[in-house]
Every structure is written in C-alpha cells, then in structure tokens.
C-alpha cells in the first residue's frame, strides 16, 4: 500500500483548507479508492478523508430543486422515500450497486468522481440534467454533470475542488423514470450495460419529453440524444424498438472487454432502452390519472 499523509476534516471549511494544499486527493467511502491504491492505480501524497464531514450528507427538497449531499451513501439514497417519489430510477440504481457492505460506504459523490462508464448512479442523474456544486477555498462553481465527466476515470475536478452536492429539478406532469441494468450475476453485479430513462407524456398520451442515458457503451455514460429525438412526439408502442435500435447504434461505441462483447452490448442496449421506456411510460400513465 502506498504511503500518504492523512487529514480528516470535520467541517466544510477545514475541508477547503486541507484541499488547498498541493498533492491532495479526496477519500470518501473508499470502496473505489482503497483497492485502487493497493493495486497502484491511484496516488495521493496527502489523502483527505471527507467521510467525517456530516454537513455533506443530506437529501433535501429545496422546492424547485432536489439537492443531494455528495457524501450521501448509496444505501441512504436507496432508502430515501423522497427520492423514490422524485427519481425512482436513482433509487433502483442505488439499490443495485454492489452489496450491503459497499452500499453503506460508497457515496454519490464518490461514484461520480470515479467516473466509471459503468457507474450506476450516473445515468439516473443525467436524465434529470443534474448539476454539481463544486467548492474550493477559491470559490464555488456549478457544472452540469454531463460536462463534468470527461472520460473513463476523468473529470473536470480541479485541484483544491470537491463535489459538495448534486442537484436536479423534479419532473412534473405525467412523467416516469426507470433504471435497468444487465449484470453477469444477480448479486454484486457490475453493469455490462445499464440505462436510465425518463419520459413525459402530453395529454394526448404522446411523448413530449424523453431522456435516455446509457452506461458501459462508450468511454463515459452518455445521453442518447439521437434516440431521444427519434422518439419525440411518438406514441409509445412496441414497434418503436426498431427506431430505438437504429438510432442507438449511431451514438454508442461499445467495446469487447473481459465482461462482455461489443455485439452483445449493442444488442442489449436497445433492449433495455425499450424496456426502460415501457416502464417509465407505465409510471407516466399512472401519474397522469
């Protein structure tokens, strides 16, 4: 295991100060970072442990926005009645990650910062156009989640910065959201391909808004805007599957790796988008009544 010096701030002010030093990196739950450090894939000369900063663990309805503290654990997200109501895809995703032990430690902020293309919480946040509040001693800035993630394991996080919270606006009207994941086994399942879908229906029952995010089919989780465009104004029905598949192929670039093949991911992506859409539409119809 690498050597590092260790800070444990308990307030946000302390955290900002700690991170203003050069060579610092952030530790939250540790479920990604500790194994990576052991494997020599993550380096820090100073490790700043944020897990004690209680002020960053919250789930709040701030009226126009839902705000989630970056240190909210996956288990807390999974158990949140508020989130179940406002973004059920995020709850399904959080429930599906790893196992009890890792869900109790892994955080929403950590999952975002780790920026894996297979991350499960990122698609449900992307479909809600989530933004991040980044803070540092030098000041705050907001950035859309979609712009924050630059590549596999790469983000726009600057030196001295940390993710304070994630916000998104709830959907209104006849809307629904769903998350579907294909894993290689049922327990402790890493995504082979995953999707989050949100849909809004107009009063004629046609799709007036649709957001689709796919994971594990590109270097980052992506919004499938071509697929979204192809669905706008349409009646949600099974024949849409062909359109989804065709549009999807244009935007995704899955690879063959130890877990699965390019062809399977290509095929499965379209299947789960269609299923996600069905599920989201069912919810939307329910809300519309």
């Amino acid at each position: 295991m690498q050597e590092f010096n260790y800070y444990r701030p308990v307030t946000i002010t302390e955290l900002k100060e700690n991170l203003s030093q050069p060579g610092t990196r952030i530790l939250a739950g540790g479920t990604d970072i500790v194994p990576k450090m052991r494997q020599g894939k993550f380096f820090a000369s100073i490790l700043v442990d944020t897990s004690g900063v209680k002020a960053m663990r919250f789930i709040e309805d701030q009226g126009s926005e839902i705000v989630l503290g970056a240190l909210t654990t996956h288990q807390e997200a999974a158990d949140s009645a508020l989130l179940k109501n406002i973004n059920p895809a995020l709850v399904t995703a959080a429930e599906s990650i790893g196992c009890q032990q890792t869900r109790c430690r892994g955080t929403l902020g950590g999952n975002i910062a780790n920026a894996s293309p297979a991350a499960d919480t990122i698609p449900p946040l992307l479909i809600f156009d989530a933004t991040l509040l980044l803070q540092s001693l030098g000041g705050d800035r907001r950035i859309p989640l979609e712009k924050f993630i630059l590549g596999p394991g790469e983000t726009d996080l600057q030196e001295g910065e940390f993710i304070h919270s994630i916000s998104f606006k709830p959907l209104i009207g006849s809307w629904g959201s769903a998350f579907i994941k294909v894993g290689k086994r049922s327990g402790m399942a890493v995504s082979v391909v995953n999707t989050a879908v949100a849909v809004e229906l107009n009063d004629k029952g046609k799709i007036s808004d649709v957001r689709i995010a796919l994971g594990s089919v590109a270097p980052t989780v992506i919004r499938c805007r071509k697929v979204e465009q192809s669905l706008m104004g349409k009646e949600p029905e099974p024949s849409l599957m062909k359109e989804i598949h065709a549009a999807c192929q244009e935007e995704i670039s899955p690879i063959t790796d130890i877990r699965s093949t390019e062809e399977y991911r290509d095929h499965a992506a379209a299947v789960i988008i269609q299923r996600g859409l069905e599920s989201a539409v069912e919810q939307a119809v329910g809300r519309g009544r």
Binding site: M1, Q2, E3, F4, N5, Y6, R8, L27, G30, T31, V34, P35, M37, R38, L47, D49, S51, G52, Q75, G98, C99, Q100, Q101, T102, C104, R105, S186, G187, M188
Partner: protein
C-alpha cells in the same frame, strides 16, 4: 508518512490506536487488536465480505476502510458478539442448522446477519438473500445460513 492516533469503540470498549494511516481497519484489527475473526479472502477488493465488521450499525468491508476513518465510530467484530459468556442467537442458529462448514466466511456472514436483523427483525427470504449477497461462501450454498437467520429471528421472537 506521519502516524495518526485514532480513538474508537471496539466491542463496547474505548480503544486508541497509533498507526501509519495507510493501514486498513482489517489489518489493524488482525495484527494490533487480536481480532483475527475478520478474514482476507479476496485481496482487499471488497468482493467477498469475509472481512465484514459492523460500523455504527452497518455491515462494512473492513479491508476497504483506512484506519483513520473509524475515528469516533463504534465497531463490532465477531469477537464482540457473545454477551456475558452466552452465544448470540445467530451464533447458536448457525451451529444448530449446520450453516458452518469450513467457517472462513462465517464471522462475516454472522455480522452481516446481525446488522440485518437489528434493522429488519422479520426479513423475507429475498431480503435475507439480498442482505447476504456480499458474503461469498463456497462450502454451503447459503441455504443453511438462510435457515439460520430465520431460526434466529424466530428465537428472537421467543425471547
């Protein structure tokens, strides 16, 4: 690399450890604190649950927690489960149902089960399977562990 001092409750007892910060909770428990019940079966990747301890009521993989992170926390290890020389109902149930074979996964599984029952005293089969899914076992096929948890649940009702 500067040493740090960490103070926490271990099995109800206030414990202070001075250590290099790059050591995991698992390593400190096993090497410095005589708690060898927690095991390393997967190389510290959080894939097996054999290192499970209870941290503030939640089951966690101690192999993925740096020692500094438990400052002010409450930790229960398998060594702390017996009370006044009496076996915990889960320990008894695991033995009674034959859920213990090689035993390497047993401490982790029992602690996961304890955390589960403490939060959800009447879990369904599916909830138990979900709860145990982070504890790998190659010997038992999990059936008798699930029986044991139900048995412990029943006995908890009778208490």
């Amino acid at each position: 690399m500067k040493e740090i001092t960490v103070v926490f409750l271990l099995n109800g007892k206030k414990t202070s450890i001075t250590s290099l910060p790059n050591r995991t909770l698992l390593d400190v428990l096993r090497t410095d604190l005589g708690c060898t019940g927690a095991k390393d079966a997967c190389g510290g990747e959080g894939e097996c649950g054999a290192c499970t301890v209870i941290l503030n009521g939640k089951p966690v993989n101690s192999c993925m927690i740096f020692i500094g992170q438990v400052e002010d926390h409450q930790i229960t290890t398998i060594e702390g489960l017996m009370e006044k020389g009496e076996y915990h109902r889960l320990q008894k149930a695991f033995v009674d149902t034959g859920a213990v074979q090689c035993g390497f996964c047993t401490p982790g599984a029992i602690l996961t089960a304890k955390a589960l029952l403490d939060e959800n005293p009447h879990p369904t089969d599916l909830e138990i399977r979900e709860g145990l899914s982070g504890n790998l076992c190659r010997c038992t096929g999990y059936n008798k562990m699930i029986d044991a948890i139900h048995l412990a649940e029943q006995r908890g009702l009778d208490d």
